[in-house]
């Protein structure tokens, strides 16, 4: 049993009032309480960016690593102890920019982890520069005459790269986000959740109102196994046309399933044995 009090730390969030991070945090804690995630069964990794501070406010074992590198840390945790629920909290800047390589390979290899992208279309901790998901033409501190570069869709990139669970959700929709987090964690394989998160301080277009007015839930009969349709849908991003929901969900062998030694007990709980090494040394004679 996990209660909200169990998850509380002595530290209060230092995000700006109204920041999308609050509701992502809330949705995660609600999911943790509902599912009993605690320090015996769950671990988190975080990126560097405003979102990464989540580790200080959530009493779950975590690694707050380096900018863009949260995913390989999560993968290492999962391989060493595959019984843990592993969550990665990453930003659009860190993990689409500096960590883009890790992202596509994490999707390709289908590690059994849940990835929450705090996608605010900006580098905000460094006070508002353009990121890989900033819309073309939008002026930022690093692109005062408008962002010349086209953004990409993290969800479409994830589908193209081989992710097996891909969703998009608005950060203010706590209830749905909580449900998706739970589904993502239960999913065997990598789950990518692109969370549309307003930066209330630096982003003047992608506000709460903007997302409330422009997001459209996927139809109830959406076929989550149609990869091509999922990719096309994930590419849609415009006024009155930001689809949200679970685009894609299929069962495929996970990274961990390829290791026969991970069938049962986690690696870290198997007593270390070295019998048999003598035979190997002999084979060098």
């Amino acid at each position: 049993m996990t209660t909200l009090a169990d998850l509380a730390t002595p530290h209060q969030p230092n995000w700006c009032p109204g920041c999308g991070n609050y509701t992502i945090w809330a949705a995660f804690k609600n999911a943790a309480v509902e599912q009993g995630w605690d320090n015996t069964n769950t671990a988190m990794t975080a990126d560097i960016g405003c979102n990464g501070h989540i580790v200080n406010f959530t009493k779950i074992n975590s690694v707050e690593g380096l900018h863009g590198r949260a995913l390989p840390v999560a993968e290492g945790i999962k391989m060493a102890n595959h019984k843990l629920n592993v969550f990665s909290f990453i930003g659009d800047g860190g993990c689409m920019g500096e960590g883009g390589n890790h992202f596509i390979h994490a999707c390709r290899r289908n590690h059994d982890i849940t990835v929450v992208i705090h996608d605010n279309e900006l580098y905000s901790l460094t006070t508002g520069q353009t990121s890989p998901t900033t819309q073309q033409g939008y002026p930022t501190k690093s692109t005062p005459f408008g962002n010349p570069d086209k953004p990409f869709s993290p969800a479409a990139l994830a589908i193209a790269s081989g992710a097996t669970f891909v969703a998009r959700v608005y950060s203010g929709d706590i209830k749905n986000l909580k449900e998706i987090l739970i589904k993502a964690n239960k999913h065997k394989g990598i789950a990518i959740i692109d969370v549309l998160q307003p930066c209330v301080t630096f982003h003047k277009v992608c506000t709460h109102t903007f997302y409330q007015q422009n997001t459209t839930p996927l139809p109830d009969d959406w076929d989550r196994t149609d990869k091509a349709a999922a990719f096309m849908k994930a590419m849609e991003f415009g006024e009155n046309d930001i689809p949200v929901g679970i685009f894609y969900e299929v069962e495929k062998p996970t990274n961990e399933s390829h290791f026969p030694q991970l069938k049962q007990t986690p690696i870290v709980k198997i007593p270390i044995k070295r019998d048999g090494l003598k035979e190997i040394l002999k084979s060098y004679s």
């Binding site: 707050e64 380096l66 290492g76 391989m79 060493a80 890790h102 026969p260 690696i267 870290v268």
Partner: protein, 576 residues
């Protein structure tokens, strides 16, 4: 007394199986009761470039690359042309008599041994791969070896490929053996005649020793991206993972490798990476993450030559300053420099214990010459080794404080999933791991982390090793793979000794100062341009060496070069 060393060199195109043949010959010599040391030279291409493997054979000590050839097996013209000058008087040159190779420039003192290699290979079973086996059979015949030892070796090496392969390899060896014995056997002494029955020995290189040392140390997780010269470490580790319940994972790059290894260690695994200088440069960012989060991590760094891509398949000792200084800020790092294959095995094992005891990074700094040169040893004995996980708990602990201050700088480590909450935080943090920028906390945590090095220096650091006479006119000081060449070079002198330094951080300042007080004339020998160690020695001890011997062309020290230096110094008279 200098050991008598017989040097056989096999040369041909990349893709002709030069290395495999060299290993086979080395194993044959080892099984025949000899000591061996091999050296491979090859360019960074898979087919077509010039590949050479040198196999040194001796009843005495042999631990260095030689600058001469007593017997050359040339599988192509280039091998003859490139190595003419190294051939000693009375040397042999074996080549395919059916290939129109030009031997006009070969000195008359060299015995030519033309053998129809391809024809015999065809007779034995058809494929060109057998050419090398014919040649090896011929070498056994020419040098007085026992063909039955070769047959047994073929059975052991190729047994899993089926009886047919074994039979044709044996036939190929037999054909080469018979022909060579009949036609050339009388021209040579018998350097491969079975020696008195010795114990069975392993023939292995530093890469294999590092991988096997990691397994012996109970390693549970390794993430390694391929790179010369360490790729062979991952080949060995990948093969045995299921049997020993560890994970080897090939990551997308070296950055991911080290981050994965940190994640695995955070979950409680004994964790490692391996790379060369270029890959380590990418890891530099993550190196300090392990440092500030106090995550145990073993890093095998196999140096190669020059910056950037540089000399990718050659050796150098020019990453010492890199591993000592890479990354911003200060954190405690342990850097060890083993000097031969056996030391690589035991140092790697030791590195896992040190990493967990001090909860920080331990670099085992080796180089291409160590990674890829084979030596033979009696089976390594690791029965005395105790896996030491240091202050580590897998039990839930009330009011657990991961980074609690302590006298020795070491706090009790735990793992994710145990129930002991903590954050492995790349931000400066308090005793639970929460981010903190408070002055007192920063000072406490920083001092706590750095104090681990003082504890390590007190409890675990080893003194340098003095080889040779206590009192000497010349003292050579060096580290890493140069050990073998220096030991061989000084064998014939009773007035030269050698100080081998195995710990670069923490640094054995007091012991070295004491040892160097007695030295009359000091030469620092290392394989780099910048005299990395020479400078470090000065920084840590104030000691200024009298002389340096530096080399940075990718080749190892040849014992002869060191002797030349010694002679030069002795000639001008020793006075410091």
């Amino acid at each position: 007394m200098e050991s008598k060393i017989f040097t056989v060199t096999i040369g041909g195109m990349a893709g002709q199986g030069i290395k495999a043949s060299g290993i086979l010959l080395a194993r044959f010599a080892s099984r025949s009761g000899y000591n061996i040391f091999t050296h491979v030279e090859y360019p960074s291409i898979i087919r077509g470039g010039h590949n050479v493997m040198q196999v040194n054979i001796s009843k005495g000590n042999v631990a260095a690359t030689q600058s001469k050839i007593d017997f050359l097996i040339a599988l192509n013209q280039e091998t003859i042309d490139k190595h003419l000058e190294e051939l000693t008087p009375g040397a042999g040159l074996l080549f395919d008599s059916d290939k129109k190779l030009n031997t006009d420039n070969v000195p008359e003192t060299v015995h030519l041994c033309p053998i129809p290699l391809a024809q015999f290979a065809k007779e034995a079973g058809g494929s060109d791969i057998l050419i090398n086996t014919v040649a090896l059979g011929a070498v056994v015949g020419i040098m007085g070896g026992d063909l039955n030892i070769m047959f047994k070796l073929i059975e052991d090496e190729f047994g899993d490929k089926g009886e047919k392969i074994v039979a044709s390899d044996k036939k190929a060896a037999q054909l080469g053996y018979d022909f060579a014995l009949k036609n050339f056997g009388h021209k040579f002494t018998n350097p491969l005649e079975p020696a008195e029955k010795g114990e069975h020995k392993m023939v292995l290189n530093g890469n294999e020793a590092a991988a096997l040392g990691a397994i012996a140390a109970g390693m549970q997780f390794a993430a390694i991206y391929p790179m010369s010269p360490i790729s062979n470490i991952l080949h060995v580790l990948a093969r045995h993972q299921e049997e020993f319940n560890y994970i080897y994972k090939q990551p997308e790059d070296e950055i991911a490798a080290m981050n994965m290894a940190i994640g695995a260690a955070f979950a409680g695994a004994r964790s490692m990476v391996a790379t060369s200088g270029g890959g380590f440069s990418l890891m530099a960012e993550t190196y300090g993450l392990a440092g500030i989060t106090e995550t145990p991590l073993v890093i095998i760094e196999g140096m190669r030559g020059a910056p950037a891509t540089g000399l990718p398949t050659w050796s150098e000792q020019s990453d010492l300053r890199l591993v000592l200084h890479a990354h911003q800020g200060d954190f405690p790092r342990i850097v060890l420099t083993p000097g031969d294959t056996k030391e690589v095995f035991y140092t790697t094992m030791q590195a896992f214990n040190l990493a967990e005891k001090y909860q920080t990074t331990v670099v085992v700094l080796i180089d291409k010459d160590l990674c890829e040169s084979d030596q033979n040893y009696p089976y390594f004995d690791y029965s005395d080794y105790k896996i030491d996980r240091g202050k580590f708990t897998m039990e839930p602990t009330p009011n657990y404080k991961r980074y609690a201050d302590s006298e020795d700088g070491i706090s009790v480590r735990s793992a994710a999933g145990v129930g002991n909450f903590f954050i492995a935080n790349s931000d400066e943090h308090d005793e639970y791991g929460y981010s903190s920028e408070e002055i007192d906390n920063r000072n406490t945590q920083m001092r706590k982390r750095m104090r681990k090095l003082e504890t390590c220096a007190r409890e675990d650091m080893e003194e340098p090793v003095l080889h040779g006479p206590e009192n000497a006119d010349i003292t050579i000081i060096s580290w890493g793979s140069t050990k073998g060449a220096i030991l061989q070079a000084i064998e014939k002198y009773d007035n030269v000794n050698f100080i081998q330094v195995k710990w670069m951080n923490p640094f054995p300042t007091q012991a070295l100062t004491r040892m160097l007080e007695k030295a009359k004339y000091t030469i620092s020998a290392e394989l780099n341009y910048g005299a990395h160690f020479t400078g470090l020695l000065r920084e840590k001890t104030g000691f200024v060496v009298d002389d340096t011997l530096l080399k940075y062309d990718g080749r190892p020290f040849y014992p002869k070069e060191i002797q030349n230096k010694i002679e030069e110094v002795l000639k001008k008279g020793v006075s410091s």
